[in-house]
Amino acid sequence: MGLALLLLIWLITLASTYFFVAKTWWLPVGASAAAHWIDSQFALTFIIMGIVFLAAQLGLGYIVWRYREGPSSVPASYSHGNTTLEVVWTVLTAILFIGLNLMGSSVWASQRFDAAEAGAVQVEVTGMQFAWYFRYPGPDGKYGATSPKLMDPSAGGEAAVGLNTSDPAAKDDVVTGTMFLPVDREVDVSLRAVDVIHSFFVPSLRFKQDAVPGLNIHMHFKPTAIGEYEIACAELCGLGHYKMHGMVHVVSQEDFDKWLAAREAEKQ
């Protein structure tokens, strides 16, 4: 029985570890400035926790086999523990866990506490059941006013986000269902939701933030590779949650300018 347990625990442990180490499934290739930092913090955590995982599980399997009761086994030792050992592993675990945590904090801080770079692209992201809309303020750099009274999701586009077209600042606002971004330029997103909570998750850009009704949440990130990246809503928002999908097209600055100009032209 001890041997069967040892084999099962070891088998589970090694099989689980194999798929982690072989990276059969892994984080998607990162395409933003933060990806490198997030991924290396993930890798560090992964290595430390992986070692602890292997040591604990293999040790558990070994101990249950080694100290199984048998005709020749010696009596169990009469011990109530060891205070020195308790102190040692408490202190070591505390240092390890808290140290690991502090190492990841700088990445978090730089993303959240510093304002977006000057000249960042402004995009407003609006989530609603079950679509994402993206608004660019246009040449004036100012978002026009929106009003809940004007929101008409069935009409899509400007009407869906309730754009008040009589506001002069709204004249050049561009509202689209697909997000276009220039590569290597910081993006200043403001996230809104009109009905329930949604979450703007772009795995390849290592970006996730809930969009909350009543809040306007500012975040910034910088895409670093041209490509198309999928958006998947990451907060349960109702029956269409699974299909609340969108695309981010990261293109060159020229292509971005051309695309935006074309949208402005369509509007006139």
């Binding site: 926790m49 995982f53 030792s77 009469y78 109530h80 592993w89 945590n101 996730k208 269409g240």
Partner: protein, 576 residues
Amino acid sequence: MATPASVHAHTPQGFIRKYIFSLDHKVIGIQYFFLALTAVFVGMFLSLLMRIHLVWPAAVLPFVGEIKPETYLSLLTMHGTIMVFFVLTTAPQGGFGNYFLPIQIGAPDMAFPVLNMLSFWTTFVGFVVILAAFFVTGGAPLHGWTGYAPLSALPSAGPGEGLGADLWITSIAIFCVASLMGALNFITTTLDLRAKGMTMMRMPLTVWSWFITAILGLLAFGVLLSAGILLLMDRNLGTSFYVPLVVVNGQIMGHKGGSPLLWQHLFWFFGHPEVYIAILPGMGVASQVLSTFSRKPIFGYRAMVYAMLSIGFFGFMVWGHHMFMSGMSPYSAFAFSILTMCIGVPSAIKTFNWLGTMYKGRIRFQTPMLYAIGFVSLFVSGGLSGPFLAQPVLDIQLHDTYFVVGHFHLIMGVAAIFGMFAATYYWFPKMFGRMMNETWGRVHFFLTLAGTYAIFMPMHYLGMAGGTRRYSQYTEVAYLQKLMPIHQFMTYAAFITIAAQFIFVLNLFWSMFKGPKASDNPWEATTLEWTTATPPPHDNFGGVTPVVNHGPYEYSVPGAPKDYVMQNDPATVATH
């Protein structure tokens, strides 16, 4: 020693007083146990339907029909709610705690037997109310077990958000009331009804775990109860605690100025301690069983007690780690993150001490021990994904993915259930007077350990690759479609694991009537429940009041006549 409010001198007569509205903590414990057993099969059946739908979204199932996306979300909500409240909270604490806490401290009953009966029947009503949500117009709610507002606050936000959602909240509120009554009873009993010589530091670790769980329950359920009442008011009385001005389907809702994050704060202020409410009793049982079957005192008894106390203490200060992506102040993420890492320390201490208990032991592999060893393995596996999720920066990728689902299922789901299995196989002889079948117990264990790992370990791979949770199907997003093989594997593993649970049920009921008669102390254990008759008489010790002379885990004491010294053995043998 104080006496309980009603010491029953003789056994109550009549079927109803004896088995239905019983004041006997043992009968109430068994009632809780069967309620949880019913609930776990309901919850498991719902998860089976979910697993089938994830892999074959268009399948038409016999009796169930086609599962629509909203049906899937109802299944998900009800699976989570039923499992967390009516299984993970009900069986370890209400079931085993009720039955064994008084006996293990040498008391004739709980401090407030009527309150005890009331708390069970209130829980029962809560269960009936939540099941009713399936049968009303619109069906069960789809907002998930966390019920985030405004989705949960707006009847027009989706099917199931009408009467179904009201019933869901009402059921939880009823459950909170029941748990508050239970918590008061557990705390009072532990503090006031301990037998002579049963000092706090001689209490079995199971008693400590139920006691600490009760304190957590007392502090946490009150908050959830209030939060639930506010949510009901938002839904039905036009208040705006959780709902700002929102527009659903082009319609302006009549709310203004509420905060969706307020619900999250209140919910998780309960929700995180709830995780420990589910797992602490499992820790207690694992400690008890590992010591008994290793024939060795528990390693670091005091450290174990302090670890559980600090888990309980820190458990109330980490709720914000569920909200790193919620729009909460990013500064507070630092505090919540560091405190979360701190809670990993006592958890690690417990693991070290379990390994230390088995080290140089003389391990016997009866079924309860297999489950306790499985508990340790799962606790490690589920615990080690915690330090990933405790880091806000990694949550950017992992939050609301299957990585989280794998994490909490391994630790608060499966590990806690392994604690319950260990408890069932360990205490069954005392509760029902007969032994369970060992062979089938082992078969059940090996299939369940391998099966649960096969279901929940791949969820981590899925989550790392960006696999979002609470998606009824992975058909609409290209990168998710590529992850379908993992889902298929998990569904097949779920079929096997769920099938294996019928071995347990058959073993349970067969042994109840046909199993070999159990002796008073079949495991050669030391705590007080093994000193009395099997099953224990109505007043637990047959008119005798036990006197405690020893600590709870005195195994292999040098110079003792046997390899164990029971807690009430005369003080002639020197123990620590």
